[in-house]
Symmetry: C2
Subunit: 431 residues, 2 copies
């Protein structure tokens, strides 16, 4: 067990948590339900795409060698010996001075090596036969989509852990995945603590507030790819709390509690970890908000003790819990996507700890990302969380952050992620 | 009906479609199911936050006037007359030289106007009574979170049409929304056409390809906030097609067909629109890919005739269908978010039409957005769609786009959107 309340660096805290992050299991879902899930296996091209040479246009397929003498003054005439739509195959081989009418996507008839678009031809009928003339030569391969041109059989198209977006859905369909192997969603338990908490449907009472963290957390869990199991709010009774945590642990992959990790008179979580025999990985992190964030481990299972403060809770989840859930989903870049951006306004409050400030990402007309703290930034300001799509990183002990300074920012809404280490962000994660 | 195959500007095409975009209806869902939906009403603060003056720290609440003489050499002693955790209220009024032990979040006891953190006090017991001393004066209001400090009652916190992210979920809980009024999802029908199409579970055959557009489209519809109803693939028989489209129209808010809108021998859609009596808003757009994109309207209901070409289908949906779905969801910025970014590589192919090139968005270390075409960019390249998170806009008839040129880009994965007009993007949408 670490020494109590000794703050550690964010990078060290992330590293300790990630030591216990593990891959989840696989399950199979219908392709119609795969969107938004994560691939459980690499997606390999099972065949060439296209799987045959085909016409990318509506036109006439023919032998380029027969066109070489064609010119404006000396049109060359072909007999049209067939017509095929996409999905059909011309029977037989096309011979000299013959052409086949082909629709976009149709397989190139045997014998042909190029396609001439309709608008460059002139069609006519004679003796009940169809003909067309062209007035210029064509090269072999002209207007042909060749087999394997888009993708060769065996190519790795997407890695295990890839988020299934519409493009991946298209690939899955192309290669015949009616059933898709996806990562099972990690089941994440949520327990709220705090004698001040009312449930969402209770009327306000003096001194009390409604429990907003649990619902915020559920939305964060879903955004991070997890499935929520909400166990409700704990009472003030220690033994009841202990039993609730024990019971919840048996039912979930990861357990999150909000509140109760501080050093106040009613903060039970530290004692609960002790009674459970859990190892506390850390209980103080050199960050604001969320310095009291605590993570413990019991038989390899992670217990996240997030702060009861809404902003601290939000940040603690995104920094520590999200990468664990994304690892469960096989994502090899499980951390929040880390970018550089220009600060949208002066920020001159120095803090001994690294700050993660809720903000919004915008774009200027010169191709820059601009991140701006979202309004009132006291750590209990629920309102400013609503617009948050970025966490702005302000390194510890610095105070010269003017408008347009270059800062690190973490994108909380991106499906892309970043790999460890964030250590490249040298300044930002030192206390 | 517009003149056939007369290309119109993208901006004009969007405008014609949006003329028929309408708001949907409302429904109520549990707050636990609201994440990822869109607010059907403005979210107004129903009370102040905090709803009472409270302590942001663990400490002692007292009257600042009693601290004015305190100094290092002359500590001042207070009697501790109570202790309250968050959620509790101290009975009675705190008098001169009295203090109440308060936990973070607890209501400020009557009579008190400041809070002193524990670490600045020294506690002791005498004659079974609790006391504490301080060595410096405190100001009125020091360490107090005042009622309404975060949000005043009546403040509009989020507009109708706002995407419900974790921050909005927290606000909903704070203000007691056990049930949340959300926009009903638009029901979007999908019909695939094309004699070359196999269903996803059929083995490959010569000349045929599996239907990937429908599955791509379903994922796009879900990403845009819609609900999918897939009607399968149409046969080659005209009357069967006509009846299928008629039947589908009666069941959905919006109907999308893929394929069949070109001028090939088997492209039935134009004739189907005619037989239905639908008004064709346009059937040719000055854009690549997707110039054959057709949109028709029948009694106010929109029929999107997207190209059978995967990239064209993708782009057509994002430019024309997405804003209609987002408008249905009350979003006042329903178009793809439009940003400026630097081009990641040279792009020198001029085209008479505006190009929308699939690409990926990255960030450099100087705060720039960099957009790079995703690999092989032929319009039938399914593979390159997988990585797409941006459409790069290359204006018509230009060819001097070097690496690091400033270009417009449309973010296909952002939950944020842009308002009409994109007309500001003057260059990009002129043909």
């Amino acid at each position: 067990m670490v020494e109590r309340r000794q703050p550690i660096l964010v990078s060290e805290a992330v590293s300790r948590v990630m030591h216990y992050a593990k891959h989840g299991t696989k399950e199979t879902v219908s392709i119609t339900e795969a969107s938004g899930r994560y691939l459980a296996e690499d997606l390999i091209a099972a065949h060439d795409v296209p799987s045959f040479d085909r016409s990318p246009y509506d036109g006439f397929a023919l032998r380029s060698v027969d066109t070489q003498e064609a010119s404006f003054d000396h049109p060359v005439t072909f007999e049209v010996v067939g017509a095929i739509g996409a999905g059909y195959v011309h029977e037989g081989t096309v011979e000299a001075m013959q052409a086949v009418r082909v629709m976009t996507g149709a397989a190139l008839p045997k014998g042909c090596d190029c396609v001439v678009k309709f608008e460059l031809t002139k069609e006519f009928k004679e003796n009940d036969k169809d003909f067309m003339t062209i007035k210029k030569p064509f090269a072999a391969g002209e207007n042909v989509s060749f087999q394997g041109e888009d993708t060769k059989k065996g190519t790795s198209l997407a890695k295990q852990g890839t988020y299934i977006n519409p493009g991946i859905a298209a690939l899955l369909a192309t290669f015949g995945y009616r059933e898709v192997p996806v990562a099972k969603k990690p089941l994440v338990g949520v327990i709220a603590t705090g004698s001040e908490l009312l449930e969402v449907d209770q009327p306000l009472e003096p001194g009390k507030i409604r429990n907003s963290n649990a619902y915020m957390m559920m939305a964060q869990i879903e955004r991070a790819g997890g499935e929520v199991k909400y166990f409700g709010q704990l009472s003030d009774d220690f033994d009841a709390c202990l039993n609730a945590v024990k019971g919840a642990l048996a039912k979930v992959d990861v357990l999150i509690t909000t509140g109760g990790v501080s050093v106040g008179d009613f903060d039970y979580l530290p004692a609960i970890y002790e009674r459970l025999g859990a190892t506390v990985l850390f209980n103080k992190v050199a960050m604001r908000p969320g310095s009291v964030t605590t993570v413990a481990e019991l038989n390899g299972q992670l217990l996240f003790g997030l702060s009861g403060n809404p902003s601290a809770c939000y940040v603690g989840f995104e920094l520590f819990t999200r990468p664990v859930l994304q690892t469960f989903l096989y994502n090899k870049a499980p951390h929040l996507q880390n970018i550089k951006a220009l600060l949208g306004e002066d920020f001159e409050k120095a803090n001994p700890f690294t700050r993660f400030i809720r903000g919004t990402l915008a774009y200027d007309r010169e191709g820059h990302c601009i991140v701006t703290p979202s309004g009132f930034n006291k750590s209990n300001a629920v309102a400013s969380l609503a617009e948050t799509n970025v966490l702005i990183v302000i390194p510890a002990k610095t105070k010269d952050y003017q408008r347009a300074s270059l800062v690190d920012a973490l994108l909380v809404e991106a499906v892309q992620g970043s790999e460890w280490p964030w250590d490249n962000v040298v300044l930002s994660y030192r206390s």
